[in-house]
Symmetry: C2
Subunit: 301 residues, 2 copies
Amino acid sequence: MSNSPLSPRLADALTAVSQDVNAELDRLMPVSEGAESRVQDAMRYASLDGGKRLRPFLVMQSASLFNVAETAAIRVACAIEMIHCYSLVHDDLPCMDDDDLRRGRPTCHKKYDEATALLAGDSLLTKAFEVLANPATHSDPQVRCDLVAELAHASGAQGMVGGQMIDLQAQNLDLDLAGITRLQQLKTGRLFSFSCEAGAVMGKAHGELRLALRNYAHDLGLAFQIADDILDVEGDAAEVGKRLQKDADAGKATFVSLLGLERARSQADMLAEQACRHLDPFGDKADLMRDVARFVVQRRS
Amino acid sequence: MSNSPLSPRLADALTAVSQDVNAELDRLMPVSEGAESRVQDAMRYASLDGGKRLRPFLVMQSASLFNVAETAAIRVACAIEMIHCYSLVHDDLPCMDDDDLRRGRPTCHKKYDEATALLAGDSLLTKAFEVLANPATHSDPQVRCDLVAELAHASGAQGMVGGQMIDLQAQNLDLDLAGITRLQQLKTGRLFSFSCEAGAVMGKAHGELRLALRNYAHDLGLAFQIADDILDVEGDAAEVGKRLQKDADAGKATFVSLLGLERARSQADMLAEQACRHLDPFGDKADLMRDVARFVVQRRS
């Protein structure tokens, strides 16, 4: 990977987490003998072996800040990835974004069919909560309840799904910068926040350390989204692995359309640096999370 | 309601639970100011003021057997109804059953649009777990985790969604009686079981009493489904409030097609009586649950 914006240590760490997440997802989603195996296959297709696993990585990193056992944290990492993957499967459906390509492969409804993809999304969403509630995720049931409640809040109608609802209406809403920012905070920011705070929840850390992670997540999520809008204009579809310029084609405002390319890029860089500074209380232990912030604004896919 | 199969006491009790469930759902699902309110409206449309509320009723009845506080049980009742309603919204979508009518009103995607209905289903599903994990549902977080894990298991790929997956392929599977029975146990039986066992979970009752409720739920669910197949042949669409004879039109096996109308009817009656006998350990306290079993095989909608 020449000229990669990935530092070698981040590249290694992301690869390690990806492998661990794949192995754990594989264990968590066995395939039955009966005819219901079709939906289980589709769940696996939609979640195994794909994506950068950024959210799981953030879970694992935030958990390491509080010395949470990896065997527990990996389950939370898988739960957030199940939610992320379900949202992609449903987003890709014809009644939503109608996409044929995801991570360089046919989307779930193209590989199977619409009904199976709908059900695969539903059951990935459901499975995430089953995983969190299981004693293997944390010995303290109060912590497990907190994880369930916070993931549900982050991903429901007042979080990610609410953001998707706004996004669907964005052509008609004539959103300004504050409107786009709020949309993105709901649609992608809330899951980033959950991922970054999950370690604090598992480590029962409240107060300033948790707030520091929340602030980091806030700036990281926004930087990620601005970078996404930049990629949507400048990226290479083959490299990014999905159709580009959808928002512009649909006449939706984006950070790039509102700020222009140069200001969008400097804003993303500024947010990434600001995100890093929020991690000061953690010292060197948070270096990989700082690398993530710099990576998300420099990535090419 | 002349000639109603509802005993007066069951009619009164169902009405009371319906009112309580509507009031609680209304409280649990407020509408925001922003553009995300559209999905919140759709969630409310899909879940308020409709249906017999059979599953919530079973939750409230089983909770009363163990003297669980109604303020707690009503939240579990709402959670199961959110799951049931999400499944109806997604089931009605064009890529699934493609239905225009539900409970005598336009289906959610007809009232709004497909994308909004998809998201409304997703967020109803998500909200159910948020409600269960909240301390107001039970003072013991272990019980709340058990409720989350069991509802997820009952409604996911190894439960309700798995049953829907089999149902989608039923035309090609040439199911026999055992196959249809398993399909229905997954598709509708698992949620009935959760509803009936929820009281035991909240009351921390294990062993024989919980097993008795599980057995009741098993027979009740099967009786319910056979009665549904009978209604599908004999019912009046206006009274039932949805399109009928879908399965027969689609060439799918049903209990009626496999058993014939007479044997199906006697089988349903036998199962209802057997369900009642499982409730013997609870004495008079379970009389309304016995009324439910008799009602489901005699209902006309």
